[in-house]
């Protein structure tokens, strides 16, 4: 019985549809289990300070559990420890903390794997041309938040490019990378970044994007340049508009993740913990509970597992 139990959900922002859906999922699960849910978020992706203040408010309110998608995975460990010291169950969603055992449990996508899948797919789709591809890397922000780095580096790994330092993007010296631009993860940034890349080299034929809104923006720039049919765009997220873009041929392939699942699992874990102190368990063989990632495309490539757009549409969020 979860009566009197309260939980907190702390996301990176509350404007990215990904987190909006996560919140909706958590709210639904909480309502079902009779848990009071409070949500908090930073103002921009990377807003660590607001997340600390949110943890403090949760401690002050005597919450039983906290679900957090950390903006600064290493720095958040300290306030998380305070919360755990205060007897609160802390679960990392979407993004593992650094170290991963700083949280009681982690329900996450493997962002590096998500990147790797689209990288392999792109390399496979190009075949031999992959050796002289011209790649545009449309990243998140110059502060290089971890998701952005993991996906970018995963993509390059999958594509077969030497990573240099895997904890940062932009230090690779492979000539196939034409540009690294930042997009803020939205259409606006995606379009401007793509235009800039095209101005630098109009022959670009592979575009990595941090997420689907950025991909949609990049596509508009390609349309304006008349090159939309000759360029492969890959992305990450698997939101419903993104999957629809795969169906329309805007995006070639996208790695789908499952925020609703993360959220509902998290709430259930808090309910169980409040009831009898049970702690959630990890996926066998991993140090976190993997909520899974799937490549969505209608042009499967040998050696890369993928699901069809139809399946992706059934599973999509938002």
């Amino acid at each position: 019985d979860g009566h009197g139990t309260s939980a907190c959900l702390i996301t990176k922002t509350d404007t990215n549809p990904f987190f909006v859906k996560m919140r909706e999922g958590a709210e639904a699960a909480a309502a079902e289990l009779g848990i009071t849910l409070a949500s908090y978020a930073g103002q921009v992706d990377g807003d660590h300070e607001a997340q600390v203040a949110a943890i403090e408010a949760c401690i002050a309110n005597g919450a039983s559990g906290i679900l957090i998608t950390a903006s600064d995975t290493a720095a958040i460990a300290e306030p998380v420890r305070d919360a755990r010291d205060a007897g609160i169950l802390v679960i990392a969603l979407d993004t593992p903390l650094d170290p991963i055992d700083a949280a009681d449990a982690t329900f996450a996508t493997d962002n590096f794997l998500a990147g790797e899948l689209i990288g392999k797919w792109a390399a496979g789709a190009l075949g031999d041309d992959a050796a002289n591809a011209k790649i545009a890397m449309l990243d998140l922000a110059i502060s290089q938040p971890t998701v952005g780095v993991l996906r970018d580096q995963g993509f390059l790994q999958g594509f077969g490019i030497d990573l240099g330092d895997p904890s940062m993007w932009g230090d690779e010296d492979d000539a196939r990378i034409i540009c690294n631009e930042v997009t803020a993860g939205n259409e606006e940034g995606g379009r401007t970044a793509m235009e800039t890349c095209l101005a630098a080299d109009p022959e670009i034929n592979v575009v990595y994007t941090i997420n689907e809104p950025a991909a949609a923006g990049a596509y508009e720039a390609l349309v304006a340049a008349g090159r939309q049919d000759e360029v492969l765009i890959v992305s990450v997220d698997g939101g419903c508009p993104g999957v629809a873009d795969v169906a329309d041929g805007v995006i070639g392939a996208t790695s789908q993740q499952y925020p609703l699942l993360m959220a509902s699992l998290g709430i259930e874990a808090i309910a169980a913990f409040a009831k009898d102190g049970t702690l959630p368990e990890n996926t066998p063989g991993k140090d976190f509970f993997d909520t899974g990632v799937a490549l969505v495309t209608d042009a499967p490539v040998d050696g890369v597992d993928s699901i069809s757009v139809e399946e992706g549409t059934d599973l999509c969020w938002g």
Binding site: V20, N186, E187, E188, G189, A200, A216, G226
Partner: protein, 384 residues
């Protein structure tokens, strides 16, 4: 002494009655350009702009110049916001809400069309009206409740942005949906030159599949096709002309400057300060809404999380200040804001084309903005 004192005004009889005029003599070219800059200080950012273009042309070679039309497109939104910002800054205010208004109004235009099924033209009208209404709210806070503009518009910014997220449920309306069902929303993204070429060709009965420039044998049409100017860019230029006219040649414009210069003096001299301020904030809201429409044109989709909502204010203020408009009000020309936006646009694209890494680009933009204004100050000093 007393015998001289009372009638000293006698000395006035026969006082010179001519108006003074000094003959400054022949003017060299340098002096003439000096005095041109002195009379029209908004030329200074133009000079800086030309320098910036020359530098990048020197650095990147001939491939830079043809991209200028792209620069125009890239600033079509922030440029319009800078116009709105200029109006408010001329009155010694500041409007932190312009970007949020633009995004929210674009959401209104989109949602009114798709959620409520209104005809798109009417939805656009509603969006524009909403912009003016939000501007009126800021104006009311500033003139009636006497909240300083920074705080009033900071509050309105947060309110509008939150309303935008809540109302839109953070849902994006996809480009394709809009293109198929409500193309008017994207009108400011269309290119009249493409339309013109298509129209000519339809008349001639030919249809080239013009995907890339220069692949037909019709040189002139190719050239027109290549010069990709959108209606949004034309709207920016048109609005700048219109506002320049209003500010320079109408009583309202004089009042805007007077209010910014010294509101007490303006009030004592017979200007209705409150009404002038109110009109400025409303107009700024309306223009921001136009920027929102332009946002749909430029990015094809309607996205509540567009970065303009967060960064539109600082970007527009930057353009205004680079354009030589004083943050203390009353001084500067709207053309300054236009050129200011272009200067930043040239830097951004130029550095991107030079393949500077984004972190370094960010740093260089900072340096270049300082440099641009430093040169501006220097020209002003030399011209003074």
């Amino acid at each position: 002494m007393s015998e001289k004192s009372d009638n000293y005004e006698k000395g006035l009889e026969g006082a010179s009655q001519t108006v003074v005029a000094f003959d400054v003599g022949d003017k060299s070219f340098l002096m003439r350009s000096q005095s041109a800059l002195h009379k029209t200080p908004s030329l200074v950012p133009l000079v800086v702009l030309v320098c910036a273009i020359l530098i990048f042309t020197g650095w990147l070679g001939p491939r830079f110049l043809p991209q200028m039309t792209l620069v125009f497109q890239q600033i079509q939104v922030v440029g319009i916001l800078a116009l709105a910002q200029t109006l408010v800054i001329l009155t010694a205010g500041i409007d932190l809400s312009v970007g949020a208004i633009a995004v929210f109004c674009s959401v209104i235009m989109g949602q009114f069309t798709f959620r409520y099924g209104l005809p798109p033209a009417i939805a656009v009208g509603c969006g524009l009206a909403a912009g003016a209404a939000i501007g009126a709210l800021s104006g009311w806070l500033v003139t009636r409740i006497k909240i300083p503009p920074f705080i009033a518009t900071l509050g309105v910014w947060q309110i509008v942005l939150a309303a935008n997220y809540i109302y839109s449920k953070n849902e994006t309306i996809r480009a394709r949906t809009i293109r198929e069902e409500a193309p008017i929303l994207q009108w400011l993204g269309l290119k009249p030159n493409e339309q013109f070429v298509n129209w000519i060709e339809r008349l001639q009965g030919v249809t080239y599949e013009r995907i890339r420039p220069n692949d037909t044998d019709q040189f002139l049409l190719d050239l027109i096709w290549q010069t990709k100017i959108t209606y949004g860019v034309l709207a920016l230029i048109g609005l700048t002309f219109l506002l320049a006219y209003m500010l320079r040649s109408t009583a309202w414009g004089r009042h805007v400057y007077a209010v910014g210069d010294d509101p007490e003096a303006a009030e004592l001299a017979g200007v209705n300060v409150k009404r002038t301020l109110m009109s400025v904030y409303m107009l700024a809201g309306l223009i921001s809404a136009i920027a929102g429409w332009s946002l749909i044109g430029r990015f094809a989709s309607v996205s509540p999380s567009a970065s303009t909502g967060l960064e539109g204010n600082i970007e527009s203020i930057t353009a205004v200040v680079i354009g030589g408009i004083s943050l203390f009000g009353g001084r500067g020309s709207i053309w300054g804001a236009f050129f200011g936006a272009l200067i930043v646009g040239v830097f951004m694209l130029g550095l991107g084309m030079a393949r500077v890494n984004p972190q370094w680009t960010f740093m260089l933009i900072g340096t270049l903005i300082i440099l641009a204004v430093g040169i501006d100050q220097w020209i002003r000093k030399v011209a003074a």
